[in-house]
């Protein structure tokens, strides 16, 4: 199959306008005859569901949490980017576009990224209109700060809880439509398959997590906004329920996956402290605005941080990247931390952390000012570690955080299955091989509020004559049979190891061989290990309880069964990309100073994968990336 990214013609800055001017419309009278399914109620899902409903379509929306307001977007602390240039520091749409392209190590589409930057200003307007209480200056105007990888202040924030506030705005817009009966909302429902009719996405199979019932739902288009799958590493900054199931099952039905191995490892998470641990908590990256990162100059240092004098500290980010210092992008900062930790300079009981120190900022600005900026983060740190970071440096460590890869989508955010769209973190678009801080909330919102309303309508304009389908159609019956068989299989293995056991084992394997750094040897080892683990899973898994009741263990087992397949494709993807770019660091390809060495000659493309059936190797289809507006440059933050 040939990939068509459907990039509109014309100069970069006019492409989106051109698209909007030419997108087909649906007459309001026809909109009520058209149904759309939206899986996910995060920023991407809630915003598209509310927007389409406002336009007059009938929307059915799903999430696995007990309330739409609890989607993972709620956890984002740092902020959301927008090129408003309120600080008069030279920001512009083009500059944001350039920073994002460069931040992603020149591995994303120009047109998508430009559109992201272009719509960013509008998003702030929308959020403010919904009542999002962004930080304000004393004069009443919006405040912003700066984030990793950029030199302007373009990040808007609501204290350390920006994701929560943006999501509440979107959730409230969604609930307004639920009250107006334009959206039917199904919480505690998990999508387990997409149903295709005549090659188009026409519905989904879901499991009611409270009762175990399997349900069929039909529509004229299906939108997946099911978030990222970084939880595949088990220890990650993501919520416990985040998973890959929705996109993976769509993949097996024919939607291509892109760049699955690009997982961002965030530099400022709390370190792991024991094997019982279920997640790693993130400290917002915004802390790097004022915190200085260091490790002791001496390996295996045993003194307390405050007892180590200034000249015996190594501020390695400031040393290696003087231009960006502590604000170096995430991939670079994470790798630099790993390098120091691996070399024996790590701190903390497990020697797996580095210090993030606020003493200088407190000295210069006063404790009150720091408290105002990051108070809740300091409180959170205290709750988890019982340490006061106002008097002692925080300990931080890199942790799996964000999936840059996901379902392949064209400029319209449509996958290779007609009528199946992917929005937000579930798709691969916009971030390239590394995501700049505060660009993800933005992407999820922009996809849902400003892009998909046009592109989904454009698609639906061709579906007006398609009738509503009966759930009794053979395609739905067949899909349900497969879903039920899989659930029964998981329950009937009756082995001796829990789903969590497999998840943890897989996570460790991935972290070691397909994490912050990768090598051919390691990846081959991982693939072998994953295959063995998968076969063990189907022989020795233990799930207690039944399939036709509320069963948290079965939910986990289903997600882990998908992870065991995704993991292999991740390693395959990392193996074929013989270069280093962004979050993907292949040890074989580095400069003498240990920096990532990109190979634009051979790898300036998106790796797109087509499923070939159970047990068969997937096929790689490259989507070449054309750079007409920026020059491919070595990414230097020195």
């Amino acid at each position: 199959m040939k990939l068509n990214a459907k990039i509109p013609p014309g100069p970069l800055k006019d492409k989106w306008t051109y698209y909007k001017d030419h997108a087909k419309l649906v007459n309001p009278a026809n909109r009520k005859k058209l149904d759309v399914i939206v899986v996910g109620t995060g920023l991407a899902g809630s915003s598209i569901a509310a927007s389409l409903a406002e336009m007059g379509y009938h929307v059915t929306s799903f999430c696995f949490q007990d309330s739409a307001r609890r989607a993972h977007s709620v956890a984002a602390q740092g902020g959301v980017n927008a090129a408003k240039n309120y600080k008069n520091d030279g920001d512009s749409t083009y500059r944001m576009f350039y920073d994002t392209i460069k931040g992603g190590d020149f591995r994303s589409r120009e047109a998508n990224v430009y559109r992201l930057a272009e719509c960013s200003a509008q998003l702030i307007d929308q959020a403010v209109a919904q009542g999002v209480p962004f930080g304000r200056e004393y004069g009443g105007y919006l405040n912003n700060r700066s984030f990793g990888g950029v030199q302007v202040s373009r990040t808007f924030y609501a204290r350390g809880q920006t994701g929560q506030q943006l999501l509440l705005g979107a959730y409230q817009a969604l609930m307004r439509q639920v009250a107006a009966k334009t959206v039917s909302l199904f919480t505690r429902h998990e999508m387990l398959d997409v149903v295709l009719v005549d090659g188009k996405a026409r519905g989904i199979i879901v499991r009611n997590l409270d009762t175990g019932e399997i349900e069929r739902h039909t529509a004229h288009a299906v939108i997946l906004a099911s978030g990222g799958f970084g939880k595949i590493y088990y220890l990650s900054t993501l919520a416990m329920g985040c998973n890959a199931s929705a996109i993976w099952r769509a993949h097996k039905k024919g939607a291509f996956m892109a760049c699955p191995s690009w997982t961002q490892v965030h530099p400022t998470s709390l370190p792991q402290s024991g094997s019982y641990q279920s997640k790693l908590t993130l400290m917002s990256e915004s802390l790097r605005n004022d915190g200085r990162i260091w490790v002791p100059l001496k390996a295996n240092e045993s003194r307390k941080p405050n007892d180590i004098p200034e000249e015996e500290r190594d501020y390695y980010l400031e040393r290696r990247y003087p231009a960006f210092g502590n604000l170096a992008p995430r991939d670079i900062s994470s790798r630099a931390a790993k390098e120091r930790i691996d070399a024996g300079f790590g701190v903390g009981p497990q020697q797996n952390a580095v210090y993030l120190d606020f003493s200088k900022a407190i000295q210069e600005q006063g404790k009150q000012k720091i408290k105002e900026k990051y108070g809740n983060l300091f409180d959170m740190y205290h709750k988890i570690t019982a340490t006061d970071a106002y008097t002692e440096p925080m300990m931080i460590s890199p942790a799996a955080h964000f999936s840059m890869g996901g379902l392949w989508v064209d400029y319209e955010l449509m996958t290779t299955i007609p009528g199946l769209f992917a929005l937000g973190e579930a798709n691969f678009a916009d971030h390239g091989a590394n995501r700049l801080g505060a660009n993800s909330l933005l992407q999820a919102c922009v996809d849902g509020y400003f892009v998909a309303p046009y592109t989904v309508s454009n698609y639906l304009s061709g579906e007006i004559k398609e009738p509503r389908l009966s759930v009794e159609r053979q395609e739905f019956v067949d899909a349900e049979v497969v879903v039920r068989a899989h659930l029964s299989k998981l329950v009937s293995i009756k082995g001796s190891k829990t789903a969590d056991h497999y998840h943890k084992t897989l996570g460790k394997l991935l972290y070691d061989y397909c994490g912050l750094s990768r090598s051919k040897e390691g990846l081959l080892k991982a693939i072998k290990g994953i295959r063995e683990l998968r076969s063990d899973f189907y022989q020795n898994l233990k799930v207690s309880g039944d399939e036709d009741e509320m069963n948290g263990e079965l939910e986990k087992a289903g997600r882990v069964s998908d992870y065991l397949e995704v993991a292999e494709l991740m390693c395959q993807d990392a193996l074929t990309r013989e270069e280093s770019c962004g979050a993907h660091f292949r040890e074989e390809y580095q400069t003498p100073e240990g920096e990532a060495l990109r190979n634009d000659e051979k790898f300036c493309f998106v790796s797109v994968w087509q499923y070939q059936g159970e047990g068969k190797d997937e096929i790689l289809i490259p989507e070449p990336l054309k750079f007409e507006n920026v020059e491919l440059a070595v990414r230097s933050y020195k």
Binding site: D66, V74, M175, A239, G274, M380, K542
Partner: protein, 249 residues
Amino acid sequence: MKIYLKIWRQNDAGSPGKMVDYTLDNVILNMSFLEMMDTLNEQLVLAGDRPVEFDHDCREGICGQCGMMINGRAHGPVAHLTTCQLHMREFKDGDTIYIEPFRGKGFPIKRDLRVDRSAFDRIIMAGGFVSVNTGQAPEANGIPISHEDAESAFDSAACIGCGACVATCKNSSAALFTSAKIAHLAKLPQGEIESRKRALAMVQQMDDEQFGHCTNTEACEVECPQSISVLNIARMNWEYTLSKVLRNT
């Protein structure tokens, strides 16, 4: 350390429930409370028993999904903390811990420690939003909002919808939750226009969902993980009364 647990087990809303005893031998001080529960569940699954169902997701105190009564207190012994943020260092070797679901008429039990909090969503549906459609918002700096107002709106907006306020209230009142949303939106110019109508509708819905009345014991504020102030309730009553009065004149 060794911990004795007494946990409420109940199959579904219709069946009777009871406290069941469990013992855990290897509890580590740095474990979070939910990691302790994971350890128990792992033990139960391996023994072929049904694990204890409890709600949780983010495990960092922000999604609002976790929540249980621990030794009679919503979210456990530490004030202003969610259950997922509670750590086992708050307990001692040999302690017995009583774990029950959040209870309240508006929160029917689903199974074990999971309760149905959808009533909160319906309260929001009644008016907890600004009626603005996508794509037509004016420039965000067009209406200045003072730093103090934005911060104060944020204080109210920070509610995570966990339901601890209901569980801890002797009347099972949802006043703190409802008032937080009413106050958040009333404090911003964007939301103020609808504030009277909103207060009437949301309070009505709160009553319809069978939450009790607020009698100002202020127990909710003590347990609220976000330290939502009871002053929000005063604001709600003010908006409500004003709208009643204005409607009747």
